[in-house]
Amino acid sequence: MTGQAVIELQDVWAGYESDRVLEAVNFRMEAGDYVGLIGPNGGGKTTLIKVILGLIKPEKGSVCVMGVSPEKGRHFIGYVPQIQQDNKAFPIKVWDVVSMGRLKPNPLSNLYLTETDKAVIERSLKQMDVLDLAKRSINELSGGQRQRVTIARALATEPKILLLDEPTSSVDSRSSSQMYDLLAELNKSISILLISHDLTAISTYVKTIGCVNRRLVYDEKKEITSEMLSGAYDCPVDLVAHGLPHRVLPSHQEEDDHD
């Protein structure tokens, strides 16, 4: 089963100055995959995303996106960042946010939107069911609506891969399950990599699951082993299954994060 790798990391070590965050990370994702990566805060989830997007260079190891370097391949990635509170007040309309998905690298060729651009923007808005919000300012939207607009922006790039960072962090549970249904639909044509600390949500929807905590535990399976979790969370974890979805109740003797 060796299809084409859409994202491939080989022995990647990365971090900031004196602080190494990722060690010996190997990861391979193929077309059509729907991977969920979980991990504690400070475990390197964000760093992993930055490495994949070419925003930071790993100290060691190689990263490929669609078979080329992240800088060359990242335009295939529809990136859905966490909603940032600080640009919540930015005065911009939903249509303009999503039209950023159509930006071309040459600033001068972004003078106006072509008919194709407009059609793609409209389709993306429709796909995420936010077309009726197009003229609204993003400040007026709920967390769930904003999240869908951000995904629509990623879709407007016509991505091969959708990369989502904590997609449910500011979304209530009802709109979050709607969102996961939409993602499952999108996965028919787009590979999805979803990164979150929300294990319950992830384990219900993704095809395969892995854990990031300095190292990456990923064996292309759906099951979460307690070994994987204790590795990921640095504390003993009890797996309690109430049918599906799996419920995880950590039995804590947790040391606080040192920062």
């Binding site: 640009n87 950023m100 922006r153």
Partner: protein, 275 residues
């Protein structure tokens, strides 16, 4: 009132002041919106003060101070921009340092220059009524440059202001765009300086967009309304300064600041009384 206006604009220097206000209003409305949305007001202030170094040097070497100001504001814009891009977290400290170095250089070279230099004060506090024909030409040129810059790069500028990371992933030249934007801020600072002086330049850049942002939630709308407000504040300020015989730049700033406070109150009390 009509008589006052007729009397006022019978003077050449008043007509020049009016044209200067209109040109600077355009540049400040467009660039000020970007400054406010990118939260780089402090950087704008830094560029303005560092430009004083250029004014001092130009004086010492017998050149046009305006030229020195332009050169220094471009250089300091690039310097502060590079610092800001490299060291996000600590950039305000380094910008503060460059801000002071510029001022210090200016003051030293001014004091080294022999002779009468009373109009140097005009660079600190503005001298709208002393705007000359050649000043107007420089202002028109810079206003035109700013318009071309914003119109051609609007979507890219909006993108880097709203979401730098996403723009990087779309492979926009974020750093280059950012530096060009700072150079444009530098040029705008130089022309605004003629009106209100380098110390109060920040007010000209920020008050009109901040007022516009109370009512408009769209960058384009904010830019256009800021231009209109800048014009309104300048014209009211100019008339008041003529009628009351007070310094024009300071009156314009006070008119702007009071209008902002009034608009904020109106918004709070009338438009959203429950909020």
């Amino acid at each position: 009132m009509i008589d006052l206006l007729r009397n006022m604009f019978s003077y050449d220097f008043m007509r020049n002041a009016l044209f200067a206000s209109l040109l600077v209003g355009v540049a400040c409305g467009l660039i000020g919106t970007l400054v406010v949305l990118n939260r780089i007001v402090f950087l704008g202030g830094g560029i303005a003060h560092a430009a004083y170094g250029g004014i001092g040097l130009a004086y010492y070497f017998g050149q046009d101070p305006m030229l020195g100001a332009i050169l220094f504001s471009i250089l300091s814009a690039l310097g502060m921009g590079l610092v800001h891009l490299r060291t996000k977290a600590r950039s305000d400290t380094l910008i503060g340092v460059m801000w002071s170095i510029g001022m210090a250089i200016g003051i030293i070279f001014v004091s080294l220059t022999p002779g009468f230099k009373a109009d140097l004060m005009s660079y600190l506090f503005g001298s709208l009524l002393a705007v000359s024909g050649s000043d107007l030409q420089v202002m028109a040129l810079i206003a035109a440059l700013v318009i071309v810059f914003v119109v051609l790069l609007y979507r890219s500028l909006q993108a880097i202001s709203f979401d730098e990371t996403f723009s990087t992933i779309r492979n926009l030249p974020v750093a280059a765009l950012y530096l060009v934007m700072l150079v444009m801020i530098g040029l705008t600072v130089v022309v605004a300086m003629r009106i209100v002086g380098l110390i109060m330049v920040i007010a000209m850049l920020t008050i009109p967009p901040a007022t516009a942002n109370l009512f408009l939630k769209d960058m384009k709308g904010m830019m256009l309304l800021s231009i209109g407000l800048g014009w309104l504040f300048s014209i009211i300020g100019l008339i008041l300064s003529f009628a009351l015989n007070l310094q024009a730049g300071s009156i314009i700033i006070l008119v702007a600041a009071l209008s902002y406070l009034g608009a904020a109150a109106v918004k709070k009390l009338i438009i959203r009384p429950k909020a």
